[in-house]
Symmetry: C2
Subunit: 111 residues, 2 copies
């Protein structure tokens, strides 16, 4: 018997952060490009860009920023706050996993 | 900022119990009829019956049983074990809500 679940963070009744958006941020951090990140996530560029735009607008500080110039002609990168958000979310995710395990222990033998 | 989430119970990688099925059981308990319960849940009779069948097969003991005869020509009722399942699930649900609140307190000010 297994207890499964998921969680997400809302602000003003609107979805702000969940597993999917955090994964998108991590891929943007890895590839320095929204379009590469979108491709890896198997989502459209528009969907990825919209998600980034929503996060940037809803977060206390900017999460993803454009960088211009340089050899590659610029790109996109996570801000320090964006990296912090990933860490905070992953800590919350660990707490959540512990919760599910605790519920599983409670249910065990009972169900 | 709000933390939202849901959870469900799997057995052998298959979904066994979640909020929806518990609601269905509660309505079967109230109306003594799968078809009335299905109507209230806005689901088809087949979907409701399939859900009941799965629960009966996956649970340790029978959850829903047919009763025959009597004035109304029989019907359906929750077994004692079915009622126990509802109580157990609702306790788990309370634990889960507490977990989400704890995560919310952790995230507060951070996000």
């Amino acid at each position: 018997m297994k207890v499964k679940g998921n969680f997400w963070i809302e602000k003003n009744e609107k979805s702000f952060l969940g597993k999917g958006r955090i994964e998108l941020l991590k891929k943007i951090d890895r590839y320095g490009s929204i379009s590469k990140a979108a491709k890896e996530m198997k989502m459209s560029y528009k969907a990825a860009w919209d998600a980034v735009d929503i996060m940037n607008k809803m977060a206390k500080k900017q999460v993803v920023e454009k960088i211009s110039g340089g050899k590659g002609g610029g790109g996109t990168r996570l801000t320090d706050y964006g990296k912090e958000l990933i860490n905070i979310f992953e800590t919350a995710e660990n707490n959540f996993k512990n919760c599910l395990e605790e519920i599983e222990r409670f249910l065990n033998n009972k169900i």
